[in-house]
Each structure stands twice: as C-alpha cells, then as structure tokens.
C-alpha cells in the first residue's frame, strides 16, 4: 500500500537512523524504510503481498553529519600527530607569543633551542619529549623557572634571588610592616581579603610577570589590588585612603649646605636678583624646556659668582703643613738639656701650636705618636711648662722629631711624605716598603694617597731645612743633600760628600764644570768650597747664601760680589697673594712654616687631605684629623661641605664633595618624573609644589597636591605609577 493511500501520512521518518528511504527526497517514501544495514525493506513487504517497489536506501543526514564531525576530529588528530610524533615545531605548544623584549633577545636562537633558553629542557628534544619531561616534574618548579629569569636579570635585580617581597630582607619588611600597620582602614573590598596565597619567599617571577601573553603585553603591569592583598595598611584607592605624605620629598640633610630661604629672601634680594629655580635646576643644554630637572647644580654655575672671592680669601694665607713652634732655648739649656738646631726666631719663648697636618705626619712613627700623646689634644705647646724638667725634655724631643721629619722629607722628597701620610692612614700597610704605597690596599686608597702629595717639590723641604736647621757654624761639606739644580742655583750649597759619591759613577757629572776641583769660573761655588773659616765671608759674598728666606726682606747680588759691577735685586718676603696666586707650596719664614696654598674651589690636594682625615676622624686618638675638619681649619671648605657619618656611604664618600644625585642603579620605593608635570601650565612653577619653611627646608608635599589629577579617570591612580616593586637600596 502506498503512503498516499494512508488516511494519516507517517509523521516521523526516523531521522536518527543511519539510512533513509531512497524515495524520501522525491516525496514518495515507503512506510517500511531501510533496515540498520541499509537494505530496502520493500522486498519483505512484497513477499507478504503488499504492492511496493524497492529502492536504494541512502545515508541519512544525521549519519553524514556525524561522519563529518569525526572526519574533522581525525583531521586535527592527524595534524597533531604529525607535530608531536614527527618532531615538528615545539613552539606549536606555546600558549602565545613572547613579549617583544624577550622575543628580540631570542630572535637569533634557532627554533630548537628557543624554548630551552627559558625552560629546563634540552634543545634537541621533540615535542613528545617536552611533554614527557614536563609531566615528570622536571620543568615545573616555579623557583627553578625564576632562577632562569634571574640569569639575565641578576644585574638589574641583584636582590631578587631571595624571592622575598620587594627584594628586601625579612627584618626590613617586618619593620616596614610595623610602621605601616598602625591605621588599618576598611575602605576597600580588598581590605577584607584573606592573606595572600603565597608565603614569604615563595614569590616567583611568574607570579606577576606572565609570559606568552603576546608581543605587546606589558610584563610590568601589576594590579593595584595585588599590592593591597599583602600590605597591612589597605585602602580603596589613591584618592580614598592613601596615607598622607609625611616626609616627601624626604627631609634629608643635603651634602652641600644651601639655604634656599636665606638666598631667596636675603642674598638675592639684596642684590636685586630674582631667585629663579629654573636657572639652577634646569639644564639649558637640554632640548626640552621643562626637563630633566637636576637636583643640584655646579659650583661654577650657581655659586662662583658670589662665593669664589671669599673662598679664595679663606685660602689667602695658605694651609699650614709643617710649622715650627717656638721653644725657650734659654730655659731648656739652663735645665741642662739641648734644643739642638732650631731657628733663633723660634727659640725665644714657648709658644705656638702644631698644625693638624704636622701632627698627622708626626703620628706616623711610634715615637711621634707617643710624644703627641703627651701634648694637649689641640697640639698647643704654649701651655707647656718651662720650669718642669719633663716638660722641657718633651719640648726638646718634639723639636728633634720635627727636625727629623723635615730632614727626612728634604732627603726623601715625595716618597718620604707619602710614606708618612700613609703610615698614619693605613697602619697595617707595609711601612718598610719605602715608596709609601700599601701593597694590600685597594687602588682607591693608593690613588688618594698619591693625590695628597701631588705637586709638592722636595726643594721646599730642602729650603726649609737649610733655613731652619742648618747650623750656621757648620761647614757646607757637612750638608748631605744630593746635588740638584735648586741646591746649586738656589742655595749654592752643593754636597761635596755626595759629589764624591757620584763623581766616580756618572761620567756626565765628571765632566760637569760645577764639579771641578777648582771651579774658578763659578763665583757661586768658588769661595764656599775653600775652607770652613771663610764660610762667613762667603756667605756675605754669595747673594743666595744670604738666604732671603731667613730675613724679613733682603737683597740678592749676582756677579762677583762687587755692588758696582753686580746686579742687585730686592727679594721681598714671599706672599701667597702676590707670589702664589694660583696655588702651590712655599716656605713661610715669618710663620716658620711650610705652607700649601690651594688653587681655589675643588683643590684636589685639600680634598684628598680632608677625605683621608674624614675616614679617620672617628677613630680614637685622632684629634689631629678632627682638627682638620674644624671650621676654617682648611679654608672655607667645611662651611659648605658637610660630613655624613651615616652608614649609607663608604669611607671615602663620607666627606661629601658632591651634591646628592639620584643613582640610576638604585630603585627606591617611590619614583617621580618632573618632566610630564612641568608641562602642565598650573604646575610649571616649582613653588606650586615645593614651598619653603622658615628654616630654609622644604615643606613636605601634601597628598592633595597629587590627588587633584591622579584619579582613576584622570592621570591614573595605580600603585605602580609612583611606586617600584623591586627595591634596590644602597646598602
């Protein structure tokens, strides 16, 4: 029976079967349909006498849809099998591209070892080996992965290897937590969060920096709520609950004394000048008119115009290096003691003070140190008794020690001076080396020691020795200085003894007319070398022998001694202002001292002395070092340059010669960039944020200064906009 003959046509054609009637598409399906194997059932109906024609059943749509889905699955499986089992591209498994920073570093790596550069895997391994090894737990440890990161980032983040929060020690974190947990504010949903999921040192790099997030992913991006989950003091946002600034910018003593308030209200005002911040703090050579902002400015740019003349004036008399105190020879000899060779001008009464540098030099020997211990701490000999035998003996011993020092320097020159200075600074160094260098000290100390003596001529010490300690009754032959142009020309006292030593060794010296047995042509040496008795006469004849340095003023006669034929010049007293306007060493006969005149600001010798003195000033028995650092002891240096004894600085930095500059290698908790702020019209005046107090310090900024702009909708209020996570402090 055909379906058209049915009263009710079939409503359901078994669409979920694998086969359908071959005549279904033509609208004339039979009621039997195909069986499960796809055979037409009409044959069975015919056998039972029904009027039906057979057809060729077709696959149903449901079957074909299922087959298509399976084919898709097989297609993908085939691709995966090719990649996994035939050693295809391992980067196929990577969840995403690397950030551009990491990608360009690895761009030169081959595909095989790009993954192994960061993962604990071997470059030659296949994808299957990758997976197998990873499943075995070989490459999944977070700390191991982080160590791989630090292989490259160790330099920038040296303290990150401990995986502690903020790269800070546990004790420091505990202190900070105690300091910040005083005012818990439940103003944010973050404040009700439980403790962070990670403990102490479990922080791994990937906790915040997720790689394989695409080329443009910002690895440093950090959700502010993450900060809140760990921090004891939680708040909703920067504008709602952030702690008030209490010390920002930090009130720290500057290395260079500078009072903005007095300069603004007093000094600049009195000269009718405007106190413009940008004139000092903005570098005019920069292309941008608003930055970068410098925290300090050079002396030449900011200070020299007003302070250079007073500074030079403070150095006008020079710095006493070695000065002779005065001792009462009469009382000393009356007590049966001998003062020895000592200038007559310094032998009338007990008076004077040993300069700090002289005490420094004397303290370089055990004997000198013992003598200094018996003196007052300030080195004054004025208060020494002239009746007490022990005191008088001390005076003679001090005189002898000073004489020995000058003689040693006159003979040894710079190496002897360096040896003395270094012996005080570096007691553990090899004091017997003779060259003054300390073999076990770092190069920095050697450089500093050599700076302290640079430029000093041994002639200065020789001139001092000759004028102070040479016995006027003693023959020239007893003077044992080596022959030098200064000795010959300047002072006319060649050393016969040394001449004898050298004449047999140096062929040049043998031919030197100055060394001839009878140098009749040389009026400077002819007469002094004749006899002891003629010394006095020769002294009168030799203009240089009549040492002008020993007189208040004098004259020198060049020629044969006849005033009628010789040229006579007047030699005034050496004056630093007149004769050493550019600095240097000289013998001051009025003060009986060897004096160093600094060249002005940034004098390297004074700087090295003060730096060295600072490193020793805190030690016991170093009153002379402390005295060097006293106001005006070394010119006006210490009026502006201040000592910072904090442990933040190394020894040689304690005397702070340079203003504080931000160290780019350090990372503080807070950072600030002036440039984008100064571009705003309302902030282009420095005083809009920085206002002065009465004492010249700057007032701490107010939170409100920042809150006006730094909102979520405005300039942004994320924690990392102003705060660093990875902290690197100096110590």
């Amino acid at each position: 029976m055909h379906w058209k003959q049915w009263d009710t046509p079939p409503k359901y054609f078994r669409p979920a079967d694998g086969w359908e009637c071959g005549r279904l598409r033509s609208g004339l399906p039979c009621a039997c349909g195909p069986d499960a194997q796809g055979r037409c059932q009409a044959n069975q109906a015919l056998k039972s006498g029904e009027d039906l024609t057979t057809c060729k059943p077709r696959r149903s749509l449901w079957w074909r849809r299922r087959r298509l889905a399976r084919a898709g699955g097989l297609f993908v499986a085939g691709i995966l099998a090719l990649i996994i089992f035939l050693g295809g591209d391992k980067e196929f498994l990577a969840p995403g591209e690397l950030t551009s920073h990491h990608a360009q570093i690895l761009s030169r790596h081959t595909t095989e070892n790009r993954c192994a550069a960061c993962h604990e895997l071997e470059a030659t391994e296949s994808v299957m080996a990758f997976l197998t090894k990873s499943w075995s737990g070989h490459a999944v440890d977070r700390q191991q992965q982080s160590i791989k990161c630090l292989e490259c980032h160790q330099h920038a983040l040296p303290n990150a290897k401990d995986f502690s929060p903020h790269d800070l020690p546990e004790t420091t974190l505990a202190e900070l937590t105690r300091a910040g947990s005083g005012s818990m504010r439940l103003t944010s949903f973050a404040s009700v969060l439980p403790k962070q999921a990670l403990e102490g040192n479990e922080l791994a790099c990937s906790g915040c920096h997720l790689e394989h997030q695409g080329r443009m992913h910002d690895l440093t991006m950090l959700n502010s709520d993450r900060c809140q989950s760990c921090h004891a003091n939680r708040f909703a946002s920067f504008t709602n609950g952030h702690p008030e600034f209490t010390n920002y910018p930090a009130h720290q003593d500057t290395r260079i004394s500078f009072n903005h308030q007095s300069h603004s209200a007093k000094h600049f005002a009195s000269k009718g000048k405007s106190f413009d911040c940008s004139s000092c703090h903005l570098d005019e050579s920069q292309p941008s008119a608003v930055g970068p902002v410098g925290r300090s400015v050079s002396y030449e740019k900011a200070c020299a115009a007003c302070h250079d003349a007073p500074l030079r004036s403070s150095f006008s008399d020079g710095i006493l290096v070695i000065n002779l105190p005065s001792f009462d020879r009469q009382k000393i000899e009356a007590a049966g003691l001998t003062l020895g060779a000592w200038p007559e001008e310094a032998s009338l009464m007990t008076d004077g003070t040993l300069s700090p540098i002289l005490r420094w030099l004397l303290a370089s020997t055990p004997r000198g140190k013992a003598l200094l211990a018996k003196l007052p701490a300030d080195g004054k000999v004025t208060d020494l008794s002239t009746t007490d035998l022990e005191s008088l003996r001390l005076q003679t011993e001090i005189a002898a020690e000073i004489r020995l020092l000058v003689e040693e320097l006159a003979v040894g020159g710079q190496p002897a001076l360096q040896k003395r200075l270094s012996a005080s600074l570096n007691p553990t160094s090899n004091s017997e080396s003779g060259d003054g260098s300390s073999t076990n000290n770092p190069a920095q100390v050697i450089n500093r020691d050599s700076q302290m003596i640079s430029g000093v001529s041994p002639d200065v010490f020789r001139a001092a020795w000759l004028s102070w300690f040479q016995d006027k009754n003693e023959t020239i032959a007893e003077v044992t200085f080596p022959k030098s142009p200064a000795a010959v020309v300047g002072f006319g006292r060649p050393s016969p003894m040394l001449d004898e030593q050298l004449s047999g060794q140096d062929p040049l010296l043998e031919q030197d007319p100055l060394l001839a047995e009878t140098p009749v042509d040389d009026p400077l040496v002819a007469e002094p070398s004749t006899s002891k008795a003629s010394t006095s006469k020769a002294s009168n004849a030799d203009p240089l022998n009549a040492d002008p340095l020993t007189e208040n003023s004098g004259s020198a006669t060049f020629g044969d001694g006849n005033p009628a034929k010789s040229k006579v010049i007047a030699l005034p007293d050496l004056s630093p202002q007149m004769h050493l306007p550019h600095g240097g060493w000289f013998v001051d006969q009025r003060r009986m001292a060897i004096v160093y005149v600094p060249v002005g600001h940034s004098d390297q010798i004074v700087k090295s002395w003060l730096t060295a003195a600072t490193s020793k000033a805190s030690e016991e028995g170093s009153s002379h070092f402390k005295a060097m650092l006293a106001p005006k002891a070394m010119g006006a240096c210490t009026e502006c340059h201040k000592i910072d004894h904090s442990a933040e600085y190394s020894v040689d930095e304690k005397y702070l010669w340079h203003a504080r500059e931000s160290d780019p290698s350090l990372r503080a908790f807070t950072r600030f960039n002036h440039v984008p702020h100064l571009t705003l019209p309302q902030l282009n005046q420095c005083t809009s944020c920085h206002s002065l107090q009465e004492d010249g310090r700057f007032k701490s900024m107010q939170l409100q200064n920042c809150m006006d702009c730094h909102t979520k909708q405005g300039a942004g209020d994320s924690c990392t906009q102003c705060h660093n996570y990875h902290i690197k402090l100096r110590r």
Partner: protein, 283 residues
C-alpha cells in the same frame, strides 16, 4: 492563605518565568566566577587554572545534551530541560572563555582551540537566535510541517496543480490557463527553489505569479476563474512549504556547522589540558 511549597514547586511555570530563572542562575554563576577570578588574581593565585578547569567542566556539561539524546533510558530529566541547560551553560562558557583566554596571543595550538571554540559557540548562539526567530515566522505562515514531509506535500501540490490545468482545457474556454501552467507554473511546482531563497526566503515570486494569474481573468470564463483561484491557492501553499523548507534547512545547516567541530574541539582540549598540566609551575 498558607503557602504550599510543594504545590509551588510543582506548579508549571510560564515560559517567561523559566527564562527569568534561567538567566538569573546564569548571571549568578557568572558573578561568582568573576569574584573568584578577582580574588585569586589579587591573592597571587592561579586564576587561569581556575577559569580553565571551570571551562572544562562547563564544556562537559554542554556535551551532556548529546549524551542525553543517545541515552534515552537515563532518568535524568527530559531532553528539553537539558537543551535549556545547554543554552545557558553556553553563555557561561563564553564568559569563562574570555576570562581564560583574554585575547589571542599567537600560540598555534591556542589559536586553533580558541578559534574552534568560538566557531562552535558562534554557531550555537546563531542557532539559539534561529530557534527563537523561525518558529514565529513559521507560525505566521500558518502551517506546522515537519521537514521530512515537505517533499511529499510539494509533490501533492504539484499533482493537484497539474490536474487543475488539465481540467481547464476541458471547459471550452481555451488553453490560456493550461499554457500559463506549462510555461510558468511547471518550473515553480517541480523545480527546487534557488539557493538565495534558501538563505533569505521571500514571497516575491509568489506575488509575481499571483499577479500574472490575475491578469488571465479577461481570457477566462466563470469556471475558468474558479480553477484559476484553486491554482492560486496551490501557489500560496507551495510557497509556504518552500519557506518552511528554507528555514528548517537553515536550522539544520547551522546545527551541522555547530556539531561538525565537536570532535576536533574535544581532541584539542585534551592536548591543551595535557600541555597545561605538564607545564604548569608548581610550588
């Protein structure tokens, strides 16, 4: 009046109430998911693992509709309920997918997996749209026809039209109606409609044919006009069947597109989960 909870639970809910409850449950699940993800993120937890496992679970739930269809004997509720669960779980899976993936970052495996997921989700959403839109249009047509019956009915209408055209030649009013049938209506009743009609069904052809049949009135007598009216009815019925055919085929085609990537998706999910578990950093 005392509230009988049992009665309330067993009271049949309206379609609107069912939708409201379904959406409420879906939004609640999304809200809980977002809170968990946020909480894990700010606590340095692995929110990506949370969203990944959640997405895997929802995908298994989605696959249960197909399992339910095959296992009719299981006493786990009717397919209709599971279809609703499938729809709203699909919405949740899309939210989880966005939270889990964020944006494509270039990994080939991830790209294949994500693209396939989005393809299946997109076709699913379009199916959902069609399942809401097509019944209204078909109800407007006025008939309720099973897709598999349409060829038979079309064949029936074609034969009826042939018989009416043949009858018109026996009225003695000429062969106008028969000629028109021969020229215009034979292709209409016997040939399949165009592909464009299958995508965007319209009544433009039916209007044209009916307008042309109207113009034949001047050549027809009273009986001929009666036959013409019957042929016009058949033209309308044929067009309604064609609209049914087009729309139901759209639904079936989209269902095919929805299903065709399932095995590939299951396979890629397996590889992805294996890789993730192998490389996820423990400790």
């Amino acid at each position: 009046m005392q509230l009988n909870v049992t009665q309330l639970l067993h009271r049949p809910w309206s379609f609107f109430a069912q939708r409201c409850i379904s959406w409420a449950i879906t939004f609640l699940a999304i809200a809980i998911t977002l809170c968990c993800v946020w909480g894990l993120t700010v606590r340095f937890g692995r929110s990506d693992l949370f969203t990944g496992y959640s997405l895997l679970g929802v995908c298994l739930l989605l696959a249960f509709l197909s399992i339910r269809k095959r296992m009719l004997a299981l006493p786990i509720g009717p397919v209709k309920v599971w279809l609703q669960i499938h729809l709203y779980a699909g919405v949740l899976s899309l939210v989880l997918f966005v939270l889990h993936v964020g944006w494509f970052n270039g990994g080939w495996l991830e790209l294949m997996l994500g693209s396939l997921f989005l393809w299946i989700a997109g076709t699913g959403l379009y199916l959902w749209y069609l399942s809401r839109r097509i019944p209204k249009r078909l109800l407007a047509v006025g008939r309720d026809v099973v897709l598999e019956e349409i060829p038979r009915l079309q064949q029936q209408h074609a034969e009826q039209a042939y018989e009416l055209a043949l009858k018109s030649t026996q009225l003695g009013e000429g062969v106008t109606l028969a000629d028109y049938y021969q020229q215009k209506l034979v292709p209409y009743f016997h040939a399949p409609r165009s592909l464009f009609f299958g995508i965007v069904p319209s009544i433009r052809t039916r209007r044209r044919l009916l307008r042309e049949l109207d113009t034949l009135d001047r050549y027809l007598g009273t009986e001929g006009r009666a036959l013409r009216n019957q042929i016009c009815d058949l033209v309308r019925k044929k067009d309604e069947l064609d609209v049914h055919w087009a729309m139901q085929n759209q639904l079936r085609f989209c269902l095919t597109m929805h299903i065709v990537g399932l095995w590939a998706l299951a396979l890629l999910i397996t590889v992805h989960v294996t890789t993730v578990l192998a490389f996820v950093q423990r400790g």
